[in-house]
Subunit: 211 residues, 2 copies
């Protein structure tokens, strides 16, 4: 699908057809397409908990305002953002650093510089760590929604959940923020989709401040 059509046709779909499954193959394709998203220093601080069976989705739904789409969608994801993702003690950060050495993008001598830089950018305060995790995972989640649409899948990103209760229910460690839940499946034929919501124009978005 053409990019323009993909972004214009992506809608947050409230009603999923519970009878239309998403195959493992298709889900894998969607996630690996989205994984091409960029991230600061290529750290990719994102992870997914993928829920398919009704029991797991019910466990989530009770902490997500009892939204029916959580259980109607064949796949509902808990999207995780690792606030410690930049630390070299983290296996993926270490792997990424070594891959950058291999490709010539970084040298082994830059290890201390990398550590210090990430610490000052992402570790200087709680707010910095949250911003790092949520911004990059925002890149990935947007890519997930567009990748889904390009494969004729529908999605719905959700903020309506109790972050502390979901953390407890799924034993999610403290280093992960939970920026959103994402329902994935197919729009249920016969249901009504509201017209696309109002969006800010270019002139609304571009601003400046006088000194």
């Amino acid at each position: 699908m053409d990019f323009k059509n993909t972004i214009e046709n992506r809608r947050s779909v409230n009603f999923f057809d519970p009878k239309k499954d998403v195959s493992d193959r298709l889900l894998r394709e969607m996630v690996e397409l989205a994984a091409k998203a960029p991230s600061g220093f290529n750290i990719q601080p994102w992870s997914l908990i993928v829920l398919r069976d009704r029991d797991s989705k019910m466990r989530l739904r009770q902490h997500a305002w009892e939204q029916e789409k959580v259980t109607d969608a064949p796949v509902t994801m808990i999207v995780l953002a690792d606030m410690d993702g930049w630390k070299l003690e983290n296996a993926f950060a270490e792997k990424n650093f070594n891959e950058m050495i291999k490709s010539g993008a970084m040298s082994a001598e830059q290890r201390d510089w990398f550590k210090e830089t990430c610490t000052s950018l992402y570790g200087a305060s709680e707010a910095r760590s949250v911003a790092f995790a949520c911004k990059n995972t925002g890149f990935f989640a947007m890519a997930l929604m567009l990748a889904a649409k390009s494969l004729d899948l529908d999605t719905h990103p959700m903020d309506g959940f109790d972050i502390d209760a979901v953390r407890k229910e799924f034993a999610i460690p403290e280093n992960y923020w939970i920026p959103l839940l994402l329902a994935v499946g197919y729009f249920q034929e016969g249901k009504i989709l509201y017209p696309a919501k109002w969006r800010k124009s270019y002139d609304d978005i571009v601003i400046h401040f006088d000194k």
Copy 2:
């Protein structure tokens, strides 16, 4: 351009051709395509400061590790994320709420519910406000990078800058987080682009925790 090609061909490009400009028309098309990105309650807490003239870009570059791409790119954007974007005192939040009433997605009686819900989700702590602003602006920024590529433009998202100094230099109010800078232009022919960086696989991304 096909979505798969768009996401696979998008690269963070270190070298921009300073002689190849980006027209206002093209920039507007790119931003308005990206503005189709979703956001929690459609709040769209994103804004852009668009820098084109060399003087403004030099003022930014001095606080951005003296990265040459800041001035070489014909357009460099300061991407802003409004941590107060959900407050109904905010003109865009008010406009959005009224548009939702008009379209039937919300009723006027839900005003208090909307205020309380947003306050509990996004205003309960500094971390919540930062997460709200940076996640949604992350959606928008990813859409910007892909929209650019679909229009044959190249981009480079940057974390390497002094957030406090940039805030001061451009008189950016405290309610905005600055999640990234984004250079926009055309890759300079003749320069070498490293091979695409390593990415996590599906099996790396999907995790779960035992209770």
